[in-house]
Symmetry: C2
Subunit: 425 residues, 2 copies
């Protein structure tokens, strides 16, 4: 089948409006490290995919998958070493207060359970999220999806707050005043729930606000924001699905932005593509829930998934990928800032580890989002052999988030590619 036939077949089998990338979609057949190959043999530098975080088809992870799949794969109502080893190792990467693990298969399942845990412990239903975020696809979690309105519409128990944007902000430059404005959003959200008679459960946030466009978070904002929530009796869920596993140059996003959550949820990179996800939480949250609820996840924590999870941690350590994320990240960030001086369409460059947001604007005064140019650039970059995407409230922020083995040579190709495609825009 050619690409048009494959697209037609997809629509026939899955229905219209199933999401697909690029105006001319990609038919990929091979992955290796930071490289992807399409059916015509054309190679692409992958600067988008965070799921294969230790590199596409990493042999250590693939062999761990294979070796355990040959031996045994069953559920956690039998005992097995893999889950104990994995759990102990994973929990050791967190603050001591986060001392319970629950394994699931997807980030949606992890966030779904996190909501159940905080609602159970607080007795509240009211939850705060930002106004440009996404946390998953279940009915409860889709209520927190402010970038894609769920089919059900929004219920009464969610309040959205502005994410802490320092670039396209209220008209002022004083960071302290700005921080106060954003913190007031949270205070008002809590007050609004109170006035509506909806008891407060807490706040969920991506510690680096990835979907929002990866803002530079004002110093002290998260420390104060989490304090406001806790003072009102709420709990904090850090959604580490995008920020976690070394992406930011630290193991966990919240460790790079300075707060300790009550629950951290994990997903995408956790199994390098294998469906593995979960959460860590304070014991009180899990234990009080398990007193009442027979929570069981058939595939969650099976020996194969745990072997894969362990192998991902091995590679992160053995290949120093977290420090690589920090150092190569700095290198890319510096290169992007140089490009910003050359190309006036670049309004702002932001980044943390190997996760970058390049905010494209019509002009530097209005900061009007260059939405159409962003769309064109992403498609041009693909034709040029480099895969990126877009994020942000206005979908005008280049989303650059390569697998973590990304090196300086790869970075040069990326920077040259952006320069080339911006020059021809």
């Amino acid at each position: 089948m050619n690409i048009e036939q494959m697209i037609a077949k997809r629509t026939q089998l899955f229905g219209p409006n199933n999401p697909i990338f690029y105006e001319k979609p990609l038919h990929l057949v091979k992955g290796d490290g930071v490289w992807l190959t399409d059916a015509d043999g054309k190679k692409y530098l992958d600067c988008y995919n965070n799921v294969p975080t230790v590199g596409h088809c990493h042999p250590h992870v693939v062999e761990a998958l294979y070796n355990q799949a040959k031996e045994l794969n069953t559920h956690t109502r039998y005992l097995h070493d893999n889950i104990l080893q994995y759990a102990e190792r994973l929990l050791s990467t967190y603050d001591d207060s986060l001392n319970r693990l629950v394994l699931t298969c997807t980030g949606s399942e992890a966030n779904e359970l996190a909501l159940r845990l905080i609602r159970n412990l607080t007795g509240g239903q009211g939850v705060i999220c930002t106004n440009a975020t996404y946390h998953g696809n279940t009915a409860a979690v889709a209520q927190l999806s402010s970038i894609f309105e769920p089919a059900e519409g929004y219920g009464p128990h969610i309040r959205t707050v502005r994410w802490p944007d320092q670039y396209r902000t209220p008209d002022m430059t004083d960071v302290q005043t700005l921080t106060d404005i954003y913190l007031d959003d949270i205070r008002q959200a809590i007050q609004s729930l109170k006035e509506a008679g909806i008891p407060f459960a807490g706040m969920i946030l991506c510690p680096i606000y990835a979907n929002e466009g990866l803002p530079n978070i004002p110093e002290g904002y998260l420390e104060q924001a989490t304090k406001i929530v806790r003072d009102a009796g709420g709990l904090i869920i850090a959604d580490e699905v995008q920020a976690g596993f070394g992406r930011t140059g630290k193991m966990w996003g919240h460790q790079s932005t300075g707060f300790v959550p009550d629950i951290a949820t994990m997903g995408k990179p956790m199994g390098n593509g294998h469906p593995l996800a979960g959460l860590v939480a304070r014991d009180e949250l899990v234990d009080r829930f398990r007193e009442k609820d027979m929570y069981f996840n058939t595939f969650g924590g099976n020996p194969v998934s745990c072997a894969v999870g362990n192998a991902v941690l091995d590679v992160l350590e053995n290949e120093n990928l977290i420090s690589n994320a920090a150092s190569t990240g700095e290198y890319v960030l510096s290169g992007l800032r140089k490009l910003a001086k050359k190309h006036s369409i670049i309004g702002d460059v932001r980044g943390k580890g190997l996760f970058f947001g390049v905010d494209l604007v019509k002009d530097h005064i209005s900061k009007e989002p260059a939405v159409e140019e962003t769309r064109k650039l992403i498609n041009d970059m693909k034709e040029h052999g480099i895969l990126i995407s877009s994020i942000g409230e206005f979908n005008n922020v280049l989303k650059i988030r390569p697998p973590l083995p990304f090196n300086k040579e790869n970075a040069e190709l990326l920077l040259e590619g952006i320069n080339h495609c911006l020059s021809r825009l």
Copy 2:
């Protein structure tokens, strides 16, 4: 670590009340076909696990997993052959009206989405399930869990009905009258929702009522039950997580019990242990939902999961496992009926394909469930080298559900084991 140490470690890492099997839990290290081996080298005949449905660690499935994991594993926003082949093949096993597929990772995710689909299409919230069932672990789906009350308690929009029990029934023997009584439960549930002002969305059921205890369903009950629901504007979700993929001697449980649902959800056996699940539905259900909702599942339908799904279908076909389920199933059923004549504790023997329920009672008149004897028997059977469990509203029904390559020699071991352990009870 010994077993006691492993259990202590589990409690430390996952908290108390995480589910585990047997009074002295099993530490398994190896699976092969219908056999499992523990850390001491003791072998167990697996008569419980439906997830490794084509046999533990089936080489064809494991090699398919490995070969694709080495090549490429990425999400469905790129094109790939595996998902198209798998989708076409899977849909061809269903009634033509079920012509859209959505792939997820777990049965909970599939049932969660199914609820979103029927609620979206009908505009209703009210759902009917039985009074002794389980459909998964998300907040919305846990509302349908009548065997384990969810931590949140039950909301106002669910109605439970009695499952169609012909054994432990209202005091009568006329099947037609009995059927009418059970059908009236559904009519009353619909009426109750109407009176509460809750618009009706539909009914979810396992087509073989597995958790309920695998009843012999009265002739015509499901045909009429589904008609009553549809006449009231409701839709039917068949939860094929336990009944599907040949378990009953037909590909789908609903094909063995005579109705066509609007949605069929799939899980456990779909990837032989790999986290693969999904649903098929009438196009209207999926397409109307996708008009409004940007549903995306990161791991759902990835090339590795689809390679595994395809390999499971290969084995089902190549090893004639569905007809084996029918023929070996008949053989086991006949043997269980012989045992029932010998052991008066056996009140009723039921089965469909390779799924059996043996109802243990204090006596044949009161039919009082022999709950304690059931618990003891299951633990004795494990010590004897045979793994089974229990189901049913009273947890007094032996749950026997081996991997599908189960043959007559295995069946003899099972029957001898039950005979032996019942004799010593």
